[in-house]
Amino acid sequence: MSPESSTEIVVERAVRVPLPPDKAFALFTERMTEWWPPEHSIGTSAIAAVVMEPHAGGRWFERGTDGNECQWGRVARWDPPGDLVLLWQIGANWTFDPDLETEVEISFNPDTAGGTRVELRHRHLERYGDQAEAMRAAFDSPGGWTATLTQYADLAT
Protein backbone atom coordinates (compact mmCIF):
# COMPACT_ATOMS: atom_id res chain seq x y z
CA MET A 1 0.00 0.00 0.00
CA SER A 2 1.45 3.31 -1.04
CA PRO A 3 1.69 5.89 1.71
CA GLU A 4 0.87 8.82 -0.58
CA SER A 5 -2.81 8.07 -0.99
CA SER A 6 -4.27 6.68 2.13
CA THR A 7 -7.42 5.10 0.76
CA GLU A 8 -5.72 3.73 -2.31
CA ILE A 9 -6.72 0.25 -3.43
CA VAL A 10 -3.85 -1.60 -5.05
CA VAL A 11 -3.52 -5.02 -6.56
CA GLU A 12 -0.01 -6.43 -6.69
CA ARG A 13 1.09 -9.45 -8.63
CA ALA A 14 4.52 -10.78 -9.56
CA VAL A 15 5.76 -13.51 -11.82
CA ARG A 16 9.19 -14.82 -12.77
CA VAL A 17 10.05 -15.43 -16.40
CA PRO A 18 13.14 -17.13 -17.84
CA LEU A 19 14.10 -14.21 -20.08
CA PRO A 20 16.38 -11.23 -19.41
CA PRO A 21 14.57 -7.95 -18.68
CA ASP A 22 14.90 -6.50 -22.17
CA LYS A 23 13.35 -9.59 -23.74
CA ALA A 24 10.66 -9.75 -21.07
CA PHE A 25 9.84 -6.06 -21.62
CA ALA A 26 9.61 -6.60 -25.38
CA LEU A 27 7.43 -9.67 -25.00
CA PHE A 28 5.13 -7.87 -22.57
CA THR A 29 4.67 -4.78 -24.72
CA GLU A 30 4.97 -6.02 -28.30
CA ARG A 31 3.13 -9.30 -28.03
CA MET A 32 0.34 -8.50 -25.63
CA THR A 33 -2.04 -9.91 -28.24
CA GLU A 34 -0.69 -13.36 -27.49
CA TRP A 35 -1.01 -13.30 -23.73
CA TRP A 36 -3.94 -11.01 -23.01
CA PRO A 37 -6.97 -12.98 -21.73
CA PRO A 38 -9.06 -12.75 -24.92
CA GLU A 39 -12.42 -12.62 -23.13
CA HIS A 40 -11.40 -9.24 -21.72
CA SER A 41 -12.27 -7.24 -24.78
CA ILE A 42 -14.28 -4.03 -25.08
CA GLY A 43 -14.63 -4.07 -28.84
CA THR A 44 -17.52 -5.01 -31.08
CA SER A 45 -15.65 -8.06 -32.34
CA ALA A 46 -13.00 -10.46 -31.09
CA ILE A 47 -9.53 -9.08 -30.46
CA ALA A 48 -7.26 -9.23 -33.50
CA ALA A 49 -4.44 -7.26 -31.88
CA VAL A 50 -3.57 -5.44 -28.67
CA VAL A 51 -1.39 -2.48 -29.53
CA MET A 52 0.78 -0.31 -27.31
CA GLU A 53 2.53 2.62 -28.96
CA PRO A 54 6.13 2.45 -27.69
CA HIS A 55 6.56 5.88 -26.12
CA ALA A 56 5.22 7.97 -23.25
CA GLY A 57 1.85 9.35 -24.31
CA GLY A 58 1.33 6.51 -26.76
CA ARG A 59 -2.07 4.95 -27.18
CA TRP A 60 -2.96 1.54 -25.82
CA PHE A 61 -5.82 -0.06 -27.68
CA GLU A 62 -7.33 -3.17 -29.13
CA ARG A 63 -8.09 -3.71 -32.78
CA GLY A 64 -10.98 -6.01 -33.48
CA THR A 65 -11.30 -8.57 -36.23
CA ASP A 66 -13.78 -6.11 -37.79
CA GLY A 67 -11.03 -3.48 -37.98
CA ASN A 68 -12.47 -1.21 -35.30
CA GLU A 69 -10.12 0.20 -32.70
CA CYS A 70 -11.10 0.67 -29.05
CA GLN A 71 -8.87 2.65 -26.77
CA TRP A 72 -7.94 1.15 -23.41
CA GLY A 73 -5.72 3.90 -22.09
CA ARG A 74 -2.29 5.40 -22.59
CA VAL A 75 1.36 4.80 -21.96
CA ALA A 76 2.33 7.04 -19.04
CA ARG A 77 5.94 5.93 -18.77
CA TRP A 78 8.05 4.05 -21.29
CA ASP A 79 11.45 3.24 -19.86
CA PRO A 80 12.77 -0.10 -21.16
CA PRO A 81 14.01 -2.48 -19.99
CA GLY A 82 13.02 -1.71 -16.41
CA ASP A 83 9.83 0.29 -16.13
CA LEU A 84 6.48 0.69 -17.78
CA VAL A 85 3.42 2.56 -16.54
CA LEU A 86 0.08 2.26 -18.31
CA LEU A 87 -3.02 4.31 -17.66
CA TRP A 88 -5.89 1.87 -17.58
CA GLN A 89 -9.05 3.74 -18.53
CA ILE A 90 -11.35 0.81 -18.97
CA GLY A 91 -14.34 1.47 -16.86
CA ALA A 92 -17.25 -0.57 -15.71
CA ASN A 93 -18.44 -3.32 -18.01
CA TRP A 94 -15.30 -2.98 -20.11
CA THR A 95 -15.96 0.35 -21.77
CA PHE A 96 -13.43 3.13 -22.31
CA ASP A 97 -13.87 6.02 -19.90
CA PRO A 98 -11.62 9.05 -20.49
CA ASP A 99 -12.46 10.38 -17.02
CA LEU A 100 -11.20 7.27 -15.28
CA GLU A 101 -7.48 6.87 -14.70
CA THR A 102 -6.13 3.87 -12.89
CA GLU A 103 -2.44 3.06 -13.15
CA VAL A 104 -0.73 -0.18 -13.99
CA GLU A 105 2.95 -0.05 -13.02
CA ILE A 106 5.14 -2.86 -14.25
CA SER A 107 8.80 -3.28 -13.33
CA PHE A 108 11.20 -5.79 -14.85
CA ASN A 109 14.01 -6.73 -12.46
CA PRO A 110 16.84 -9.11 -13.34
CA ASP A 111 17.25 -12.11 -11.07
CA THR A 112 20.46 -14.05 -10.38
CA ALA A 113 19.48 -16.92 -12.68
CA GLY A 114 19.38 -14.76 -15.79
CA GLY A 115 15.61 -14.39 -15.67
CA THR A 116 13.35 -11.51 -14.74
CA ARG A 117 10.98 -10.87 -11.91
CA VAL A 118 8.02 -8.98 -13.32
CA GLU A 119 6.17 -6.99 -10.68
CA LEU A 120 2.81 -5.49 -11.49
CA ARG A 121 0.89 -2.99 -9.40
CA HIS A 122 -2.58 -1.88 -10.48
CA ARG A 123 -3.13 1.28 -8.49
CA HIS A 124 -5.99 3.63 -7.65
CA LEU A 125 -8.74 1.08 -8.03
CA GLU A 126 -10.70 3.14 -5.51
CA ARG A 127 -11.43 5.48 -8.43
CA TYR A 128 -13.95 2.95 -9.61
CA GLY A 129 -16.04 4.31 -6.77
CA ASP A 130 -17.18 7.13 -9.04
CA GLN A 131 -18.99 4.74 -11.31
CA ALA A 132 -20.71 2.49 -8.91
CA GLU A 133 -23.98 2.53 -10.84
CA ALA A 134 -22.42 1.32 -14.06
CA MET A 135 -20.48 -1.26 -12.13
CA ARG A 136 -23.65 -2.56 -10.61
CA ALA A 137 -25.10 -3.12 -14.09
CA ALA A 138 -21.95 -4.95 -15.06
CA PHE A 139 -22.10 -7.13 -11.99
CA ASP A 140 -25.72 -8.01 -12.56
CA SER A 141 -25.44 -8.86 -16.24
CA PRO A 142 -25.18 -12.51 -17.27
CA GLY A 143 -21.56 -13.45 -17.44
CA GLY A 144 -20.71 -10.29 -15.54
CA TRP A 145 -18.36 -9.93 -12.65
CA THR A 146 -20.56 -11.57 -10.07
CA ALA A 147 -19.44 -15.07 -10.94
CA THR A 148 -15.80 -14.05 -10.71
CA LEU A 149 -16.32 -12.31 -7.42
CA THR A 150 -18.25 -15.19 -5.97
CA GLN A 151 -15.45 -17.51 -6.96
CA TYR A 152 -12.95 -15.19 -5.34
CA ALA A 153 -15.00 -14.88 -2.18
CA ASP A 154 -15.12 -18.65 -1.90
CA LEU A 155 -11.35 -18.72 -2.08
CA ALA A 156 -10.91 -15.87 0.34
CA THR A 157 -13.14 -17.19 3.10
Binding site: T7, V11, T33, L120, Y128, G129, A132, F139, Y152
Partner: protein, 123 residues
Protein backbone atom coordinates in the same frame (compact mmCIF):
# COMPACT_ATOMS: atom_id res chain seq x y z
CA UNK B 1 -17.56 -13.07 3.23
CA UNK B 2 -16.88 -9.61 1.76
CA UNK B 3 -19.68 -7.18 0.98
CA UNK B 4 -20.63 -7.10 -2.68
CA UNK B 5 -18.33 -5.08 -4.89
CA UNK B 6 -21.22 -2.85 -5.95
CA UNK B 7 -22.02 -1.92 -2.35
CA UNK B 8 -18.37 -1.16 -1.71
CA UNK B 9 -18.08 0.98 -4.82
CA UNK B 10 -21.29 2.85 -3.97
CA UNK B 11 -19.84 3.66 -0.58
CA UNK B 12 -16.54 4.81 -2.06
CA UNK B 13 -18.30 6.90 -4.69
CA UNK B 14 -18.83 9.79 -2.29
CA UNK B 15 -15.99 12.23 -1.63
CA UNK B 16 -17.12 12.87 1.96
CA UNK B 17 -17.04 9.18 2.72
CA UNK B 18 -13.56 8.95 1.28
CA UNK B 19 -12.61 11.87 3.58
CA UNK B 20 -13.96 9.94 6.54
CA UNK B 21 -11.94 6.89 5.56
CA UNK B 22 -8.85 9.09 5.28
CA UNK B 23 -9.39 10.33 8.85
CA UNK B 24 -9.87 6.80 10.14
CA UNK B 25 -6.61 5.59 8.65
CA UNK B 26 -4.78 7.20 11.55
CA UNK B 27 -6.78 5.20 14.04
CA UNK B 28 -10.30 4.70 15.42
CA UNK B 29 -12.39 7.83 16.01
CA UNK B 30 -15.74 8.76 17.47
CA UNK B 31 -18.48 10.46 15.43
CA UNK B 32 -17.99 13.73 17.28
CA UNK B 33 -14.31 13.91 16.47
CA UNK B 34 -14.99 13.21 12.81
CA UNK B 35 -17.59 15.99 12.75
CA UNK B 36 -15.03 18.41 14.18
CA UNK B 37 -12.43 17.53 11.59
CA UNK B 38 -14.71 17.61 8.56
CA UNK B 39 -16.92 20.40 7.25
CA UNK B 40 -20.08 18.36 7.72
CA UNK B 41 -22.60 18.03 10.52
CA UNK B 42 -22.60 15.24 13.04
CA UNK B 43 -25.84 13.71 11.68
CA UNK B 44 -24.27 13.73 8.20
CA UNK B 45 -21.18 11.97 9.54
CA UNK B 46 -23.42 9.37 11.18
CA UNK B 47 -25.28 8.84 7.93
CA UNK B 48 -22.04 8.34 5.98
CA UNK B 49 -20.72 5.99 8.64
CA UNK B 50 -23.87 3.90 8.31
CA UNK B 51 -23.25 3.50 4.57
CA UNK B 52 -19.60 2.65 5.19
CA UNK B 53 -20.61 0.14 7.82
CA UNK B 54 -23.09 -1.54 5.50
CA UNK B 55 -20.36 -1.81 2.90
CA UNK B 56 -18.16 -3.33 5.61
CA UNK B 57 -15.54 -0.66 5.03
CA UNK B 58 -15.65 0.44 8.67
CA UNK B 59 -16.31 -1.41 11.88
CA UNK B 60 -18.03 0.07 14.92
CA UNK B 61 -16.56 -0.78 18.29
CA UNK B 62 -17.98 0.16 21.67
CA UNK B 63 -15.39 1.36 24.17
CA UNK B 64 -17.13 2.12 27.43
CA UNK B 65 -19.76 4.70 26.59
CA UNK B 66 -18.06 5.70 23.35
CA UNK B 67 -18.67 4.31 19.90
CA UNK B 68 -15.50 4.24 17.86
CA UNK B 69 -15.23 3.62 14.16
CA UNK B 70 -12.27 2.06 12.48
CA UNK B 71 -11.24 0.94 8.99
CA UNK B 72 -11.99 -2.60 7.98
CA UNK B 73 -9.33 -3.48 5.40
CA UNK B 74 -11.15 -6.69 4.47
CA UNK B 75 -14.02 -4.58 3.14
CA UNK B 76 -12.01 -3.64 0.09
CA UNK B 77 -11.58 -7.25 -0.91
CA UNK B 78 -14.43 -7.41 -3.41
CA UNK B 79 -12.92 -4.81 -5.74
CA UNK B 80 -9.41 -6.01 -5.20
CA UNK B 81 -10.49 -9.61 -5.76
CA UNK B 82 -11.71 -9.00 -9.26
CA UNK B 83 -8.45 -7.42 -10.38
CA UNK B 84 -6.30 -9.91 -8.52
CA UNK B 85 -7.95 -12.69 -10.42
CA UNK B 86 -7.69 -10.85 -13.71
CA UNK B 87 -3.98 -10.07 -13.37
CA UNK B 88 -3.14 -13.53 -12.06
CA UNK B 89 -4.68 -15.00 -15.17
CA UNK B 90 -3.00 -12.46 -17.48
CA UNK B 91 0.46 -12.85 -15.94
CA UNK B 92 0.15 -16.64 -16.00
CA UNK B 93 -0.43 -16.38 -19.74
CA UNK B 94 2.50 -14.02 -20.06
CA UNK B 95 4.83 -16.34 -18.13
CA UNK B 96 3.77 -19.30 -20.26
CA UNK B 97 4.54 -17.36 -23.41
CA UNK B 98 7.91 -16.30 -21.95
CA UNK B 99 8.78 -19.92 -21.17
CA UNK B 100 7.90 -20.95 -24.70
CA UNK B 101 10.00 -18.07 -25.98
CA UNK B 102 12.96 -19.05 -23.78
CA UNK B 103 12.73 -22.63 -24.99
CA UNK B 104 13.07 -21.52 -28.60
CA UNK B 105 16.13 -19.39 -27.91
CA UNK B 106 19.01 -21.55 -28.96
CA UNK B 107 22.03 -19.31 -28.47
CA UNK B 108 23.13 -17.67 -25.21
CA UNK B 109 23.30 -14.19 -26.73
CA UNK B 110 19.61 -14.38 -27.43
CA UNK B 111 19.94 -14.19 -31.20
CA UNK B 112 17.75 -16.91 -32.57
CA UNK B 113 14.93 -17.51 -34.92
CA UNK B 114 12.41 -17.43 -32.13
CA UNK B 115 10.44 -14.54 -33.59
CA UNK B 116 9.86 -16.51 -36.74
CA UNK B 117 9.37 -19.84 -35.05
CA UNK B 118 6.82 -18.60 -32.58
CA UNK B 119 3.37 -19.37 -33.86
CA UNK B 120 1.16 -16.36 -33.99
CA UNK B 121 -2.54 -16.65 -33.63
CA UNK B 122 -3.56 -13.67 -35.64
CA UNK B 123 -6.52 -14.13 -37.93
Amino acid sequence: MPASAATVLDALGDARRRNILDCLLDGPLAVGVLAERLPISRPAVSQHLRVLKEAELVIEAVAGTRHLYRINPAGFEAVRGYFEQFWTSALDNFAALARAEAATRTSPDGVSGSEREEQRDEP
